[in-house]
Symmetry: C2
Subunit: 399 residues, 2 copies
């Protein structure tokens, strides 16, 4: 049998695979007490399960909730979402909106439509692994451009692209509370990114799952809003972080001319997005639950970020530095004592704490000294416990 | 802006697009009374909505029902499904099982892992459009091999493949109550298909969504069972036709060595299959509902097929012939009066009946004289009305 080795079946994805496997083990076959900083899931207590179950008891008793949905999304969800987005930086129109199976499928759709083998695709460094994996799976060549405290370094973007002598097909960015760094692209850089993309004729994939989870600092316009109406901007959004990831519902906001292509491409992926989840979300939005829910999440996630900062200052002040996100889920920690975070992973798991090692966020395996921590899914007292365990693991490994 | 024209954004997919659009209009913006023979959905009254809503009220009040699922599927669904399949032709083991977003994602996963640009992929003629569209989207060259009353013509398969001078990467078959023809691959041909595949080193995609919906005739072993343990066999299954399509839950049964590749590939498509639907199905299976449900469906679908045969005999006896499926959803009608079924579609819609024209089931646009009718989703009296309308449309067009 000839099994093609997938480009993303290699090291980076293999590493993520092992982490996900471990996380799966943690989630489903838990054998001992683990503090889970690894997965990017909302906290269990932040999921509006009671509200959703109440909606389900009514909405899911209707047989039409189980039929094929329209490929572009269930019309009532379209309407509810358009209404919810009104007045926000993501206000849009029906002809630009396609419902997807989470943000991930938005990235898959983009790559299926635009990425040909050998195309140059810019990714942030570090970046969201499954995003770069999707591009690789369609044969893209990736160019990693560094992220600093103000997000993607647009000067480096210009320099590194010019050094290739080629024009990128796309620039993939997570502008707000970036996964994994927590950094936010500054307003000036957002404008410069769009200028560069226009000068190159490159698409911009504006992947913004966390933007509504800002708990401090000033709101910024989305890249989508700054590039309003520009067909180069392909915006990927999701309910995963603001309501619940298991629903697998997101949307893309694109030039209307793309919608027929998106529908054709999605039909050959999964036919349509699961309809019961779309019905739950429709009633969640029309019932006015989202705003309250977001307010609660923001308050709680700020508490958790503060707790993680305190814990890191206490346990890691001498050997690490870390980012200070104004929202979202993630902190990025860089160790300064020479410990390899991939090696640290197994030791830490044995000590009872899980994280994702830095190299999982770089197609070329950079960031061996770094790791991603999710502060959003763990309560403050457990955060302190987890960071204490993490320091113990570092000390064990350094011995 | 450069938008790549997808291989499947062409004629065949365009046609399906228009049909799906119309069906969407019918489903969601119904302006007049249409008899719907177009979509392959279970009847609304055949969907166990009350049972599922009862399960939802309990299962979906648990926050963990909304988290990311394990990419290979929620372990309780794995367990329930293995138990349900015990003693059937699809009995299997956990290491062979990966949960997917419906059968469609099983086909997408296969193509992502195995199909390289230029690969030869055999499809049945006629075939399931979105299956061939997925293969095209990964750059496959398709070889259409005729289907007759005993399913894929394996002699023609051998002859046509040899005429290419190439070895197919894969043979895509729907062996039982085929979509769209309703034909079932005979036992002798199932064996011969596996022999040919082995001699060529070709994968066999055994796509069997309807096999559990046999309402007459003798049960046949699945291709998966006949090829038990052979890594060439890639079996695609779904709950879409036996429970409900809107849940978007299916599974693939493959060589265990493929599972890590499937997990990596799926992570870059949609991360995981939606968890609430997996939880609903788990309880549906463990609650013992599936057997009763299938028994009810089989009885009812037989009534409907008989009604459609009677109606066709009455209205089309002079100008058409049609197939006689022993299960599943579809009949295939061939007109003998020169009417083009793509042209007929719009006229029929105006007369109040929807179907899918033959060319939508052939990548090269064959079957301009044929059409697919779904008998499963319409009650007998409406079936008679729909066929009367269809004949009126044919007569109008033939004028």
């Amino acid at each position: 049998m000839t099994v093609r080795t997938l480009p993303y079946a290699g090291r980076a994805a293999g590493l993520v695979g092992s982490v996900i496997d471990s996380s799966t083990a943690l989630l489903h076959r838990q054998t001992h007490d683990i503090v889970r900083f690894a997965m990017g899931s909302p906290a269990a207590e932040a999921v509006p399960a009671e509200i959703l179950a109440g909606i389900a008891a009514v909405e899911l008793s209707r047989p039409d909730a189980y039929d094929y949905a329209a490929t572009e999304g269930d019309p009532p969800l379209h309407a509810a979402l358009l209404e919810s987005l009104r007045g926000t930086s993501d206000e849009t129109t029906a002809d630009r909106l396609t419902i997807t199976a989470g943000g991930m499928q938005g990235l898959d759709l983009f790559c299926k439509i635009f990425v040909d083998p050998g195309d140059l695709v810019v990714v942030e460094s570090p970046t969201y692994t499954n995003g770069s994996a999707t591009a690789l799976s369609y044969g893209a060549e990736l160019l990693e451009v560094p992220v600093d405290v103000d997000g993607l370094d647009v000067d480096e973007l210009e320099r590194l692209v010019e050094a290739t002598g080629r024009l990128p097909k796309a620039i993939y960015t997570i502008p707000t509370f970036q996964n994994p760094s927590g950094a936010t692209l500054s307003l000036a850089r957002r404008h410069r990114l769009l200028e560069l993309a226009r000068s190159w004729g490159s698409m911009v994939i504006d992947d913004d799952p966390y933007g509504l989870l800002r708990f401090e600092g000033a709101q910024l316009p989305t890249v989508r809003e700054l590039g309003a109406g520009d067909p180069l901007v392909f915006a990927v959004r999701t309910f995963s972080k603001i309501v619940a990831p298991g629903l697998r519902v997101g949307w893309v906001d694109t030039d209307p001319e793309l919608q027929p292509l998106l529908i054709n491409a999605k039909q050959a992926m999964d036919t349509c997005t699961n309809l019961p989840a779309q019905r739950l979300l429709t009633r969640f939005l029309t019932g006015g639950h989202l705003d309250n829910h977001l307010a609660t999440q923001r308050t709680e996630y700020k508490r958790r970020k503060v707790a993680m900062h305190e814990a890191l200052t206490r346990s890691f002040g001498d050997i690490a530095r870390w980012t200070d996100p104004e929202g979202g889920f993630f902190l990025w920690v860089t160790l300064e004592n020479g410990v390899d975070t991939a090696a640290l992973f197994e030791v830490a798991l044995a000590e009872g704490v899980a994280f994702i090692p830095g190299p999982a966020f770089s197609p070329s395996g950079r960031f061996t000294d770094a790791l991603r921590l999710c502060f959003a899914s763990t309560k403050p007292d457990r955060i302190h416990e987890g960071i204490t365990r993490l320091r113990r693991a570092v000390d064990l490994l350094a011995k």
